[in-house]
Amino acid sequence: MTAKTAPNRSQWLRLLGIALLIGTLVTTLEILTRERIVASQTSAALDYLRQVTGPDDQGAAITFENWPIPNRQLGLLGLSEGDEMHIALRAGQPIAAIVPSISNAGYGGAIQLLVGIDFTGRIIAVRVISHRETVGLGDKIEIAKSDWIEAFSKRSLSDPAAKYWAVKADGGIYDQFTGATITPRAVVNQVAATLQFFADERAALAARGTSQANPEAGE
């Protein structure tokens, strides 16, 4: 074979031809599947949102909107510019904020959380979206592995008091796992930071909800 000689022009042309052919085919498939992939992503995201807003007990449909997160808060939440939070609305009134929040204090890198908070500042639920904690030790933060994460439900910034917002090893009220303290500590601290964010922004969010709802009501 001619594998040792330098490529000549016809070989470069063949490579170009194959690249063009493949590029066309892959692009076509990407266009064909784009809509379905977005739909799958959205429905997976909505599943998570429903988990953190809880069951719809009032009968009225809950809709979700994406609202911007003020830049000054991005650091606290571990997010980057352009990231948004989700607001659950019932009949146009905001009832809960679902805030993405990332801790970089995990044992295996970033832990992505979704924190659902109602407008009184109480946590509805917390879910771990993705993490790289140790299998069998740190992964008990997943709802699929353990119900540890449910310990945050109904908690707020004042319940427990700030100094108890920590794992037991740090003098707080939240359990750590045998052999894994770093992971739950990272999650507890990040959830507390998310509550702090919501406390700072609640007035602004409620005001936006009112101004958004009123023009519709007036028409």
């Binding site: 070989q11 063949r14 140790t134």
Partner: protein, 237 residues
């Protein structure tokens, strides 16, 4: 339709030239993804489809795929099939795509596929290439399933967890947990445990080889022509 000697060589992919047990190719998906049987099945099937697709297309285009630029051409074709597979998995089995994560796009770097494209598909007609890809892909899938089943059963104390990622909602109650509640064996859940397990499986294969066919008709095929790096666990002159 195929010359008998081509058939002959293809069937050895299941045992004597097994891509993982003998050639030690494709280790990273094997070690990383096989924490459960469901993950192993998902990745094995996607790999099988990509291998089949890329082998058939390389065989179809084999008159073009030679010369100094044949490697980038092969890589392009393989990467195209992987991209297509990833798009389809994300479109039609999104939870599976999330469970497998980066390892679906990384199929492109699975040397088993490049190895088959280079040594078989570009040198044989389409029937042989397809047969070879099916045999090799099935052998790879079978090993993933074995490793996945052992790791899930003895590492997490369950079997058939998460099968709904592949089979839909009917598979949600397939989960079988033979041991008491909290049983875990951490080492088997981690890649290091998978590596040890693979070592034992290779040892078992070599033991069966020496026990079943006592050195009557070995050694197997010649090394790949032109290849300077061939890692094997068997005897290849």
């Amino acid at each position: 339709m195929n010359p008998p000697n081509d058939n002959y060589s293809a069937c050895h992919g299941l045992w004597r030239e097994h891509p993982v047990l003998v050639q030690l190719l494709g280790l990273s998906p094997l070690l990383a993804v096989t924490t459960t049987l469901a993950n192993a099945l998902g990745l094995g099937l996607v790999t099988l489809i990509v291998l089949l697709g890329s082998s058939v297309s390389c065989s179809l285009l084999r008159r073009q795929l030679n010369g100094a630029l044949h490697l980038p051409m092969l890589l392009l074709i393989i990467a195209a099939w992987v991209t297509c597979a990833e798009l389809l998995v994300r479109a039609y089995a999104y939870p599976l795509a999330q469970a497998l994560g980066i390892f679906v796009p990384l199929i492109a770097s699975n040397c088993v596929i490049l190895n088959r494209a280079q040594t078989i598909a570009t040198r044989h007609p389409i029937g042989t290439a397809a047969l070879d890809a099916t045999v090799i892909g099935s052998g790879f899938l079978a090993l993933l399933l074995i490793v996945g089943a052992i790791r899930e059963l003895f590492g997490r104390g369950s079997l058939f967890a998460d099968m709904h990622l592949i089979f839909g909602d009917i598979a949600r109650d397939w989960l079988w947990q033979p041991f008491d509640g909290d049983y875990t064996l951490l080492i088997l859940s981690m890649p290091a445990g998978a590596f040890l397990l693979l070592g034992f499986l290779i040892a078992l294969k070599n033991f069966l080889d020496s026990w079943l066919l006592p050195s009557s008709e070995s050694p197997p095929e010649k090394p790949i022509a032109g290849s300077k790096r061939v890692r094997t666990t068997g005897k290849i002159n």
